[in-house]
Symmetry: C2
Subunit: 337 residues, 2 copies
DNA sequence: CGCCGTTGATGAAACGATTCAAGTGGGTTC
DNA sequence: GAACCCACTTGAATCGTTTCATCAACGGCG
């Protein structure tokens, strides 16, 4: 169908081996031969066939990145970081979306196996341990992203969500607030669970402080808006003077619902609010939202670095775990007035 | 390295051809043979090698989708629609991000050529006509997405941005406003240009109505916030009583800047505001934003459909162009009070 | 003049799946 | 019992690259 090395070789009057050498080891080919071959390539419009190259090589140069939700700007930045780092070693990032569904996650991972990708960066939907084990058995290195070191046998890069949660709650307590409500979920998601656990630690250390939980079914804007109504009730009943949202999408939804609701709740007057992720919408909210920032691009690039180490390491090598520390970005939603 | 058909065949006591038949044409294989082969596959943990299959087939089952900005939730939805439709024909979507850069766009397209993808869905960064022509020469069908039918020789699916702009402006005029400011840019981007042109049409038809232009350097939240200051001046000078933003990111940034600025501008009292895209953040803004909705998922799924038609069509086939009509979603930001 | 080392080019084997013409065997028919 | 069918199976050829052992040419050297 397309133009192949064979035709380029004929055109340039050399053998196929030489064409391949021009492409991959030009230093071992005489300059005028190189020119002749390149001329033939240009004239014929030859484009190498990756499938053939890959078949011979035994593995692709693609690194798969499977995220929970491409709609979340957080993951877009992680992907950017990964792409940048991958490019350094001639790799390419294959971006896929599991939409938090086990089925889709499994389907994508199957596909990656068939493609013999160079590695998988996985933001696991829940407990993907067996799937991961299977990939590793097949010789495909895996790095877990944005997920604590629950399973220490797999390399991972994450941000310490427990510390993040603790920092957020501590900041709220420092503002003098005592009746905190955590909004987030489902708690089956490790990120939500860890952030909550961290917040609990901080709250437990302060007498008279309480932490209630308002569990949501997803970490989305819509769920945030829905939860807003309940928060307003709690505020009216004097049971809530601060909200810690498991991510910024929730926080934005909450804020909208609370500011426009019948309850006339003010932020940060009635309720201090802290979010998580520091996506750009957080700073652009009407009351800019204090948020826990994660080094998003850095997470992506580090994940690729770990993947390369995994690949190069001998089988029984020690798995590396990178844990970044989050950073609190204080804005108007939590600044005492 | 991995397990291949050959080993499965040996284990099951059949030939490689039979294993292949079990996988691809089970109806032509006896039931007990199928069982035996499947057992061998399970025991050995065999996973087909896509590269080999693809090499033989001459083309991959991946459809590439190259967007301007994965960070924009709009494209996430387009991708979702494309993925859903592609799955119906056993295809897979390869998502890539050009970040509005010609270089990255070119690099990705080169990569797609090497991979012999089944087709490319392209949101062109600017004028990608020659790149597209080249892909088509190589036998790779292309569908332009979210881009008018500037080049009628390439199939395309888009939303009528001129109509969308006109609808938005007409709605503003219907609210009795006459001093409209269009915020968006750069005007080199077709989407921005077309939306402006549509608005101009509507304004021209009404005596005493004016349309000023505030050009931005990108369609981002940050640019919206920056433009907000200027809008407040114009409002103070009595030169602006309505804003039409080229997309919702801008609108959200504008709103935040205007509502919290020193000018104490109210929405929709002082300024009526209309955005574009109807991303979920628009409905969640403090003053929910009236916006022009595009059938996002539908754009993605239709693009894949067109791609399949392109592929099946004879060489000289007529290129199809689908143009969806946008829909105005009215919310508080433009509702007279 | 013959030998050797070096540099560069060659061409066949291999990667793993699919395809398809050819083959095998068992059953049916006359 | 020969001829023929039908339903499966077989196995070699093929896809486009890369790799590597082998080979050719040439210049230098004794």
């Amino acid at each position: 169908m397309g133009v192949s090395v064979k035709e380029v070789a004929k055109r340039a009057g050399v053998s196929v081996g030489t064409v391949s050498n021009v492409l991959n080891r030009p230093e071992s080919v005489r300059a005028d031969t190189i020119d002749r071959v390149n001329a033939a390539i240009a004239e014929l419009g030859y484009v190498p066939n990756d499938a053939a190259r890959q078949l011979r090589a035994g593995q692709s140069t693609q690194i798969a990145l499977l995220v929970l939700d491409i709609g979340n700007p957080f993951f877009a930045d992680v992907a950017r970081g990964a792409e940048r780092q991958a490019a350094l070693t001639g790799h390419t990032v294959l971006l896929a979306n599991s939409d938090d569904s086990h089925e889709r996650e499994a389907a994508h991972l199957d596909q990656f196996e068939r493609q013999r990708v160079a590695g998988v960066l996985l933001v696991p939907s829940d407990d993907a341990a067996d799937r991961v084990a299977r990939l590793r058995e097949r010789g495909i290195p895996v790095v877990l992203v944005d997920r604590g070191t629950a399973d220490s046998s797999v390399a991972s890069v994450a941000v310490d969500d427990v510390v993040g949660g603790k920092t957020a709650a501590q900041h709220i307590l420092d503002q003098g607030r005592r009746r905190i409500v955590f909004v987030g979920g489902p708690l089956a998601i490790a990120q939500a669970r860890d952030r909550l656990a961290g917040a609990q630690e901080a709250v437990d250390a302060v007498d008279g402080a309480s932490l209630d939980i308002l569990e949501t079914t997803s970490l989305s804007l819509e769920q945030g808006m829905a939860a807003g109504a309940r928060i307003q009730e709690l505020v009216a009943e004097g049971k809530c003077d601060a909200v810690f949202a498991a991510n910024d999408l929730l926080a934005i939804g909450l804020q909208q619902s609370m500011l426009t609701g019948a309850g006339r709740v003010t932020i940060p007057g009635d309720v201090v609010m802290v979010g998580y992720d520091d996506i750009s919408f957080a700073a652009a909210a009407v009351v800019p939202i204090t948020s826990v920032r994660q080094p998003r691009e850095r997470i992506g690039s580090t994940a690729v670095e770990l993947l390369m180490k995994e690949r190069d390491a001998a089988d029984g090598a020690v798995r590396e775990h990178v844990l970044f520390q989050p950073e609190l970005v204080v804005r108007a939603s939590s600044t005492a007035q």
